[in-house]
Symmetry: C2
Subunit: 226 residues, 2 copies
């Protein structure tokens, strides 16, 4: 009898990066369970994309709904504040933009480690990127190193000497590399959603649209979702 594949929890927002992570994990031989969270973000339509991607990848998806009223300090929550229009050259350089959602990746990783510890998963996979990103503190390598200790110390698996791994395969790639990787892995890129604005189609002006467009331009092929 073949040994059962190890299990991984993949944080799936429905964007290009997390969708690429899901296909990366499947390609690496993991059985996957995907995890999405709605947190009042204006582009919650990305969660519809997450459902489509999970279905295409034949992966079960857990959707968690969070009602955290204090997140309204972020321009990504609700529609009362305008999204910033940062020049592409300044995205990720220095100041934290108004789209920062306090504690978002900490909450996502906490939910993922909970699921991983409950079901005996070997790894949590997150599409964090520290190259072409908006400058959020919870996307930096030092943050993920810190969380590894939490996974080791605060879980049953960690106590048993088999701590859940955090895998962030895109951490040091630029968007062009990610676009290439997505194509190589057969990600249904046309189903993904990255725009922050949550309108009928991508706005083309938010940080997320700009970074994505730059990536496909540099990779040298068209974005099937554009």
């Amino acid at each position: 009898m073949a040994a059962q594949k190890p299990l991984a929890v993949v944080l799936l927002s429905g964007g290009l990066d997390s969708s690429t992570c899901l296909y990366w994990a499947l390609n690496r031989g993991y059985r996957c369970v995907a995890l999405s969270a709605a947190y009042g973000h204006r582009h919650h339509k990305e969660l519809r994309a997450a459902r489509k991607i999970a279905k295409a990848a034949r992966t079960p998806l857990h959707e968690v709904r969070l009602s955290l009223p204090w997140l309204d300090v972020s321009s990504l929550i609700g529609c009362r504040k305008s999204l910033p229009r940062t020049p592409l050259s300044r995205i990720g350089r220095g100041k934290i933009p108004s789209t920062y959602v306090p504690g978002r990746n900490t909450i996502f990783l906490a939910l993922a480690v909970s699921l991983a510890d409950a079901w005996g998963a070997e790894a949590v996979v997150i599409g964090a990127n520290a190259v072409d990103f908006s400058g959020y503190p919870d996307c930096r390598p030092a943050f993920y190193r810190a969380f590894r200790s939490v996974f080791r110390q605060g879980t049953r698996r960690g106590s048993e000497g088999k701590p859940v791994k955090i895998l962030a395969p895109l951490l040091r790639l630029d968007k062009a590399d990610i676009a290439r990787l997505a194509r190589r892995l057969g990600v249904p890129v046309g189903l993904t959603w990255s725009c922050y604005a949550g309108l009928a189609g991508p706005c083309g002006r938010c940080d997320s649209c700009k970074l994505r467009a730059k990536g496909f331009a540099e990779a040298g092929f068209a974005d099937p979702a554009a």
Copy 2:
């Protein structure tokens, strides 16, 4: 004009420990905001206690509802599994009991740091205890040390050189010390709820009841909630 007091986020379950933490933080000169989470636990009536305690302490309370179906691996979730009846001498020694809720304190701290970073709080206060406890991995000092790095690396405040502190004032106290501290601080102990069973009154047989009874017995006075 007097300087405004610093803000602290207090994780408030409604039990003796977290209620003592709230009064401890107020006594230390913090303005407080309390945070509770419902996660399908069988003793969710502790949240009613949390509301009463917050009201008594004139502290605003945020209640977060989490629907995390995978937590049903724990005997503390739902009522399908029996609660263990561990002999008092064996509580906290070695094996992790079936009442362990995977990732619970990781999720609670993640929610708290999110609120703290959104509102500019200086500290998160948690009633973790590593002396008279049930042996959960996410109650040990090493876990809290690991989370300190997450707070430093993954937040706006951390990026600005003012990381949110994690305060666990009960970490090294035994239950008798906590009972004495609660009395000294004027905690309305009669309003708190610790029992895991969630029946009309405390069951007297679960780990939480046993530890609490031991604490008051050693402290030498009656538990007003018994």
